[in-house]
Subunit: 232 residues, 2 copies
């Protein structure tokens, strides 16, 4: 589990609740913990009381491993699909996840805290040693206006106008970011704006229309395969 | 929609039901139809009665396009995840989908008819012009014993023993098949058996543990990018 405040001593109330009531742990159980900085540790539960759990570190299991510097920026879709995107982006090793509001985005409020809880669960499940950073939702034009030009921005272009994905991502390098649109894709004005930027590149994933969540997971998988840590 | 029996005249009762009660179509509406052989056609609904719908072909919209000869073979997992695998494999252009029973597969009955219904829906959604073939579930040892040696079999090896996926799939060629395991992966005996086959190759997707459905979608996306029809 994630322990932001170090590994020894008394855990916070939500963490204690999670261990005892969700994970059904009890005293003397051993658990794997990480804090996003120091690696993975085997810890033992020493004491369980009504509202708190105390643990001790037994040994370090893994050195820290960071994911590559790749961001997933996506237009929020329906609740289940958005949850899915957060989960898959975490498993597939996105360093940062950014909800982006585009013209065709169905304006639902985005719940950063909820996204973060899902990212934590997914990180624990896939034994990733850090939780991706979840940014507050940002409008596309603002995102592009404030863009750090050292980071390549790959936008998934459903109109077929982009470079094929294997060529684009084989030459990617880091840092990089992937941007996927909502159902209906980007508006013509958005495509024109993105194409006019030197740091941005349109990428094509074939002729079949991919759902928003499929496009996000597929693009991230291809990037990890071609320029990320699946290549090692 | 899929029309297995041609485009003109009276539709079957389930097809009529789908158009009228699910899609809320009525007389004079125009719909896009495909039959898996001849391409895509614009049709008009001429007549709606209680149990049947009559349509006429107006014009051909697209020539037939086949997906590449890639199969997805996967160990069935929980219901929602398996549904997800069928949907994503269809979107991501698998020609054939094969449920495979492995040692660690949680033995649930697989419902071929249900899978087919989901593949049809996904094909319509992504405007794919044919529905993937859904095979009956088969045991892994039988699948391997009856294997056509001209088809390369890529099995996703979670132990990290495999070739990295970009190298493996860049050299893939067709025909090919991707095999993904259940939660917990393949058994040591299964890995040994697969590694002993000349037509089989172990493939690695990095160190993070991917859920079964993530692995299936990610592997198929990488194959389409590197050897499939995203490369065109």
């Amino acid at each position: 589990m994630v322990l932001d405040n170090g590994f020894a001593g008394q855990l916070s109330e939500p963490q204690s609740h999670y261990l005892v009531h969700v994970m059904k742990c009890s005293a003397s159980d051993e658990i794997l913990c990480f804090n996003g900085r120091d690696g993975e540790f085997l810890c033992r539960i020493d004491k369980v009381s009504k509202k708190s759990v105390e643990i001790t570190v037994l040994e370090q299991i893994r050195q820290m491993e960071h994911v590559p510097d790749i961001w997933l920026m996506f237009a929020p879709v329906k609740k289940n699909q958005t949850d899915f995107i957060i989960q898959k982006a975490t498993e597939l090793g996105a360093a940062r996840i950014v909800p982006v509001i585009t013209t065709y985005t169905i304006a639902e409020t985005t719940k950063t805290e909820r996204f973060r809880a899902q990212a934590i669960e997914a990180a624990e499940q896939c034994r990733r040693l850090e939780v991706p950073e979840i940014s507050e939702a940002v409008k596309l034009d603002k995102l592009v206006a404030l863009w750090d030009k050292n980071r390549k921005l790959y936008f998934m272009d459903e109109t077929g106008g982009g470079q094929n994905i294997s060529t684009a991502f084989a030459q990617s390098g880091k840092p990089a970011a992937i941007l996927t649109g909502p159902e209906g894709g980007f508006s013509p004005e958005e495509l024109e704006m993105l194409r006019s930027k030197e740091f941005a590149r349109g990428v094509s994933m074939g002729k079949r229309i991919l759902r928003a969540e499929t496009a996000a997971a597929a693009a991230l998988a291809c990037w990890q395969a071609l320029s990320g840590d699946w290549k090692l």
